[in-house]
Subunit: 339 residues, 2 copies
Amino acid sequence: MAEVTLREVALASGCSIATVSRVLAGTRPVGAETARTVRAAAERLGYRPNHVARALRSRTTGTVGLVLPQITNPFFPSLVRELEHALHAEGRAVLLADCDDDPVTEAARIGAFLGRQVDALLLIPVDERRSREAVAAAAARVPLVLLDRGCGPGVADSVAVDNAAGMALVLDHLAATGRRRPCFVGAAGTASAAVERRAAYEAGAAALDPAASGRVELGDFSVAWGRAAADRIWPSRPDALICANDLIAAGALQRLRQLGADVPGEVAVTGFDDIPLAGLADPALTTVRQPVGELAAEAARLLSRRPADADPASRRTVRLAPQLVVRGSSVPADVIAGS
Amino acid sequence: MAEVTLREVALASGCSIATVSRVLAGTRPVGAETARTVRAAAERLGYRPNHVARALRSRTTGTVGLVLPQITNPFFPSLVRELEHALHAEGRAVLLADCDDDPVTEAARIGAFLGRQVDALLLIPVDERRSREAVAAAAARVPLVLLDRGCGPGVADSVAVDNAAGMALVLDHLAATGRRRPCFVGAAGTASAAVERRAAYEAGAAALDPAASGRVELGDFSVAWGRAAADRIWPSRPDALICANDLIAAGALQRLRQLGADVPGEVAVTGFDDIPLAGLADPALTTVRQPVGELAAEAARLLSRRPADADPASRRTVRLAPQLVVRGSSVPADVIAGS
DNA sequence: GTGAAAGCGCTAACAC
DNA sequence: GTGTTAGCGCTTTCAC
């Protein structure tokens, strides 16, 4: 199984190695006749280009590092999928790193990828602050796009959903369906999703009820917190629980039903992200779908556009519009079926 | 940001490139004094080895390709996580491919990885039969380990859970808790998990009830099928629904409750895999946990052990023992709490 | 124990 | 349009 090299194809087709390279890589114009001969020889010998040699010479590996906090976070798999497809379509390969939600591990993985000469990095930072140093250092070396979460202003290009718009969609929907006593169940901390979604709730809820902006409970982005929050909040009888993500919503929904609450009759529950679990809950969760495919496409576009040494001042933040998905947790099933 | 190379470290430390290489790679014994000087110079200049150059010369990239059917399948993320950690611990990087459940895409991704000179492939085949050709071809070129699913006998080394043992755990548990009229809800097709789990049910169920082996309904590994199966089966009042995976079980459980069934009072429901959803269902699903960490460790071990041109006849299949996780869908909550 | 030299397979200048 | 000539940065003989 000795690998066929350019040299052997050149020998077989009677021209130089450089010409063969040009034909096969399409780098520069080549005579039609020669091209045909070369291609035939390459085909016949079963030539497969050696990407490592190519990378060494051309100083570009065609490889992108994808660094994420925890692949087991249910929102990430679909994002990974879209990114993999978008990048593969451009002939690039994806190196994957899972950071175990730890900034130290994250820094190590970033370093390992840089050592492997990735052309660019796609990164969902573990932490708004504690990831910043490693991210900034990496962004100085290769094009780097932040996804889904921010990492401080001006650190790198970033692509994320428009959290405020998503929250507004939810509030409009609840207002339109007659809810007047909403309550927000969010996450504490500085993560951009947590902060932005809460701020948008506070800004928009006053339209339903002057007191609504103050009804905010903060925990973390987990099912367990959703359950606990339901226990705390239900005695005050809100008519809508607006949760900062689907995990919280799933937990809240489950506990509300255990407490005997009628969902959506007495109380609506909404989530955010539209992870697979959202459609499986009972009743299924009304939620905000992130435009995962567009996020991936936009991230890929930013990566290829930015030259290696681009001006840091030109950093861009792209915000994409989310979509409201109405399901049974906010509206009776017959209404959905009838619409 | 000119990269520091061995040459510069050599110049700075007053010895040859070769010596520097030997010190930094630890390939061969080097004088203690020289080593110290070299290391200091490398440190001071901020030397970072270029993996691409190393790969070209040493013909090993330190890279493993991980090819899977669909990262959005909820069983895979935790497996990917464990594999990434196990491989990173050995200094290897993971190239990820998502095949969209399509054997043609799968073959393309395998080819792309081979072109990138991966040292080895870790592969969860899309299809028992339609993946075989590409897998066999790849296995002839690099060490290749099949994970979770088989791909025909003797095609490659493989690591998977012992499905029969898992099914036996479920049947023993149900028998011990007094169930006597079980029914199996599985998946049609030739996928090894589908076949092995069904066969194990048929072999073991007769101990509970001579007629049980015949009570088998086959669809696919989805929530929707679980719901449909519950509709079909509930009229015959089984006292246990043994599902081939957690998605089926989640669907069946949801529908059974909608039909007014008392779970676990009237009927127990069990799953397989222990995906995150299993713990979130209401009541939480009794299921069989795959030893994900061990699967990953064993796969990594097989990869590093097998020499490139190993004898095809020495192919190994490793089966790892699963673990029963008893939750509320098969046993009343107070029993679990009290145990 | 250390250095000199020869490439790994490919692409990029530079001539013609 | 095509060939010739240099390497990319590293590891690895082969001498000493």
